[in-house]
């Protein structure tokens, strides 16, 4: 094992040291027993993360997972890295401080729909707008699991739960729309049960220098089982899932004559809105080619609005947006460096004395 050559560093984490040896998923498993409910979607995400991290080739001791409160937030305990299981909603704030103080770390935030979008909504949007170099995995099961089944800020309207016996009254958040509105430089969505897609999105997030928000649709088989069934059932998924790939035309649905999806997404020239067309009747002209790197988030936002909040039909998955802009802690480090250049390294004695002293002789 030790004879293997280390993987070269990723540009997303230029200061994080690389591992001396080739790693395996086993290296990332802690000795703690995993305590999620049998059948929980969280297992799949844990396995995908542990399976993909070795690819990054980062020194394991320089990886940190920080979580809030909720089922998914137990995640750090199962990772053989540094980790902190913090308090409800605050993981992005804590991770911001850690990342700002330590640019040699790869910092991951694990959170859920209640943690990130309800009690911690403020910290999430501010971490995204600052573009702190955090990889935020938002496990969205559209329910409060750990408190035993109340509706969440992503639950469909009218949701019947213990706290809403006559149906919830709230309009849900669309986490991708929210992140795009919060100036996120990287926004993606994936599904717990699609290991390959999940891993691909995690890889893209890891390679992004800046905040990355990854919404993971995750099944809670106890309190909200089947919430994403329409996206998982092979038959239904054809119509329900829009797989986005940078540079590819946005097509989905049962295949058309050319073998690609029978439906396409076009921009209505009159309103600028996106709409779905049948390739068979309207042809392929004008079908949008997905550009994850577009400067403007407008089209990505419009794509995120295609999904029906009730049925989740026409849900785009994949990387909706991935653009480069300055990273908060890099700018912060630059200022520290510039201050030293301009004023010299701080001299404590000179600081304390100031410019206006007088002397008392004994």
């Amino acid at each position: 094992m030790s004879t293997d050559t280390p993987v070269p560093p990723r540009p997303a984490l230029p200061l994080v040291p690389t591992a001396d040896t080739r790693q395996s998923a086993k290296d990332f498993k802690s000795d703690q027993e995993v305590r999620w409910c049998p059948g929980c979607g969280d297992y799949a995400v844990l396995a995908a993360v542990q399976g993909f991290l070795p690819e990054l080739g980062l020194a394991r001791e320089n990886i940190v997972f920080i979580s809030g409160i909720g089922c998914s937030s137990r995640f750090p305990y199962y990772m053989n890295t540094y980790g902190m299981h913090s308090i409800h909603g605050r993981a992005p704030a804590i991770a911001t401080g850690l990342a700002a103080a330590r640019r040699d770390l790869s910092v991951w935030v694990v959170t859920g729909d209640g943690d990130a979008l309800s009690i911690g909504g403020n910290h999430l949007i501010h971490a995204l707008r600052r573009n702190v170099n955090l990889k935020i995995l938002l496990f969205n099961n559209r329910i409060y699991g750990l408190t035993k089944g109340q509706y969440s800020p992503t639950s469909e309207p009218g949701k019947i739960t213990k706290s809403t016996p006559m149906g919830s009254l709230d309009t849900p958040f669309n986490p991708v729309s929210l992140a795009l509105g919060a100036e996120a430089s990287f926004v993606a969505r994936t599904i717990d049960s699609d290991r390959k897609h999940l891993t691909g999105v995690l890889r893209a997030a890891a390679e992004h220098h800046g905040s990355a928000l990854v919404e993971i649709y995750q099944n809670c088989n106890i309190f909200n089982d089947g919430a994403f069934e329409s996206l998982k059932d092979k038959e239904q998924a054809l119509e329900a899932v829009i797989r986005l790939e940078h540079g590819a035309p946005i097509r989905f649905g049962a295949p058309a004559a050319d073998g690609l999806g029978g439906k396409g997404v076009v921009r209505d020239p009159a309103t600028g809105e996106l709409r779905v067309i049948e390739v068979a009747t309207e042809g392929t002209d004008g079908i949008l080619v997905h550009d994850a790197h577009a400067d403007s988030p407008v089209t990505a936002f419009a794509l995120s609005r295609l999904a029906d909040p009730h049925t989740l039909h026409r849900t785009p998955v994949g990387v909706l947006r991935s653009v480069q802009r300055p990273v908060y802690e890099d700018l912060m480090a630059d200022q520290v460096e510039r201050a030293v250049e301009q004023h010299g390294k701080g001299d404590l004695a000179a600081l304390l004395a100031g410019n206006d002293t007088w002397t008392v002789k004994g």
Partner: protein
């Protein structure tokens, strides 16, 4: 302030034509509209006074509104300065001189002015509308109601505008410099050195030299007015307070500035980067401002989206091996409480600076109070002990910050630093400490395994404690082999793994308490010169000045009274109970409804007598003197 001064800009001389009297101390209060620049005027007079070597103490007092309605009583802003040729402890009870820039300032401050005091009034602002606005039915400058005072009627605005007529300024703009005219006049009256103010104005308005020159011209015109007009027949000298101070280099410093420097010094002495996560809040924001200017010390300041994120980021940085801190006031502490509890559970070093202000809720943002003590002591869910330190004077904020860092780093715990609005904005001469002689705060991060399992395997246990301090190891991310997980769920002793075991929780709660209880703090020292006192006066925090001043008055009058002051409020000094029990009467002045008294009564079963005040202002020495005298008379 620069120290280089051109010859023609040096200190101005008194012509010698007028009578000069020596005073041992003076209390001046500048009062005006909140837009009149009274705080700046006070700051400048303070700097002039500090550079002359007087002892001094200041009390800025201003409304929460940035520009309260002009000319109204709520809009009055004032700055009181007490300076002397000997050591003094308070900004003074009652001013000897009041400068009132308008009728509102006169009306709001006159009740504090003793008969015979000098009263300098800007007559230009005493028009009928301005008088009516504050309810004066007749002009107090003319109706004889001010006969008991040495009234100087000076048209400050007119004189300033006249002095600036050579400048290309509107009458209104020229009139804005009237505070500098007043400063010039007072600087003449009290023989203050002037070069510092002139250099300050040049530097402040470096980009607008014409404004700098206009202000300097107004300042000099004020001085010359005093020198030439017959209105002011006498000027006063207050000699430097050389004998009051131990030898050393001194500067003037405010509490918030001293506290900011204390944090930088602590980080330097710990050889750790300082990370401040804060949300702006009065009266703490100046610490954030100050620290943001010192990035060349490796200081990172993070203006967070809210109070919770401020402390969260600081805690995250602490996990990463920085000296993390957050600065706030009472309402911010309330929001941070859950994170403070997490820090208690994680056992990471963290500094929580609370510049207390009047409460509850928004309360009195710009006024002082000591009513967050119980919040700091108990304001968390569960048993979550946090050490508490309170500075006694503005300059002491420096040493208290360094001491708070010592405790946080040594014991791996969050620490409360309880300052208040009075200390934050007040200032005093401060002996500049020798940087090299400050405590060595260097820490040792964990670098390898600290435990051997039964099978001989060497492992790292994040909650295996130091036997003396009970502190757990600080293992920062990036250290190979020490990967571990911590969190707010109860942890198994030693391993730090999640544990719901009843006996383990009992052990962990008691251990965290024992760690806090075992923090080394110095014994209280009682000041009882003749050893005959039967009454002990105890204080904490910013009441030190007025308490000590009152104690001196009692002793000067032949009374016997002992005094001690608490810096450490959690844990209490080991000898405190014994000290309290050895007096017939313990009197405890607090700017709350008796919070420390409650703690002491519960802890030591001593019948501590509270003397409390919650009017947003510091105690006056005179009222404490009366209260102490009653106690002394009572037990004899």
């Amino acid at each position: 302030m620069t120290t280089e001064v051109d010859a023609d800009q040096g200190s101005r001389d008194h012509g010698g034509a007028k009578d000069v009297r020596r005073l041992d101390r003076v209390i001046i209060r500048f009062a005006g509209d909140s837009g009149d620049g009274m705080q700046l005027t006070g700051d400048r007079f303070t700097s002039e006074t500090a550079s002359l070597g007087n002892d001094l103490s200041t009390l800025p007092n201003f409304p929460a509104e940035i520009r309260a309605p002009a000319g109204t009583l709520p809009g009055v802003s004032s700055f009181q300065l007490h300076f002397a040729d000997h050591d003094i402890l308070t900004p003074g009870d009652a001013p000897n001189v009041l400068v009132a820039m308008n009728p509102a300032a006169l009306k709001a401050n006159l009740p504090d002015l003793p008969r015979g005091a000098e009263l300098i009034v800007n007559t230009d602002e005493f028009g009928s509308r301005a008088l009516a606005k504050v309810g004066y039915e007749s002009n107090p400058l003319e109706d004889g109601s001010l006969e008991g005072y040495a009234l100087h009627k000076v048209p400050l605005t007119t004189l300033t505008v006249e002095a600036l007529k050579g400048f290309d300024l509107t009458r209104k703009d020229a009139g804005r410099s009237k505070n500098m005219f007043a400063l010039g006049l007072l600087s003449w009256m009290y023989h203050r050195p002037t070069e510092g103010t002139e250099a300050f104005l040049r530097s402040k308005f470096a980009k607008r030299p014409e404004i700098a020159e206009a202000n300097i011209t107004a300042f000099r015109a004020g001085w010359n007015f005093g020198e030439t007009t017959e209105e002011f027949a006498v000027s006063y000298e207050v000699a430097p307070a050389a004998s009051a101070f131990p030898a050393g280099t001194y500067r003037n410093i405010s509490g918030n500035l001293a506290l900011a420097y204390g944090l930088i010094a602590a980080a330097q002495r710990a050889d750790l980067p300082l990370f401040l996560g804060s949300y702006p809040i009065t009266p703490a924001s100046d610490i954030l401002h100050e620290l943001s200017r010192h990035k060349n010390f490796g200081v990172r300041t993070f203006q967070a989206e809210d109070e919770i994120a401020g402390i969260g980021a600081a805690l995250g940085a602490a996990f990463g091996g920085a000296l993390g801190g957050t600065t706030t006031s009472g309402p911010g502490v309330a929001l941070k409480s859950e994170t403070i509890g997490l820090a208690v559970s994680l056992e990471l070093p963290l500094l929580i600076v609370d510049i207390q202000r009047g409460g509850p809720s928004t309360g009195l943002p710009t006024k002082t109070e000591q009513a967050d003590l119980l919040q700091a002591m108990y304001g968390r869910n569960g048993e979550a002990p946090v050490p508490i330190i309170a500075p006694a004077t503005p300059g002491d904020c420096f040493a208290a910050a360094v001491d708070a860092a010592r405790i946080a780093l040594t014991y791996r715990t969050p620490v409360f630093l309880l300052s208040d609005g009075y200390l934050a904005n007040g200032s005093e001469p401060w002996r500049v400490p020798e940087a090299d002689l400050l405590p060595d705060l260097r820490v040792r991060f964990a670098t390898g395994p600290n435990h051997t399992l039964a099978d001989g395997t060497e492992v790292f246990w994040p909650y295996k404690r130091d036997e003396t301090t009970l502190a757990r190891p600080w293992a920062v991310p990036g250290t190979p082999g020490l990967e571990h997980r911590i969190g707010g769920i109860e942890k198994q002793d030693g391993t730090g793994n999640i544990s719901y075991d009843p006996a383990n929780h009992e052990l962990m709660v008691r251990t965290r308490q024992a760690k806090t209880d075992g923090i080394e703090v110095p014994d209280v020292v009682v000041d009882d010169p003749e050893g005959r006192a039967r009454v002990l006066v105890l204080g904490w925090g910013s009441t030190f000045g007025p308490i000590t001043a009152a104690v001196r008055r009692i002793r000067r009058a032949g009374g016997h009274i002992a005094q001690t002051h608490l810096r450490h409020l959690n844990p209490f000094p080991a000898n405190l109970g014994e000290v309290l029990r050895s007096y017939d009467r313990v009197v405890l002045p607090e700017m709350n409804l008796g919070q420390l008294a409650t703690l002491l009564r519960a802890r030591y079963l001593v019948d501590v007598r509270s003397f409390t005040q919650v009017n947003g202002m510091p105690f006056k020495a005179e009222q404490l003197e009366t209260a102490f005298k009653e106690a002394v008379d009572d037990v004899h």
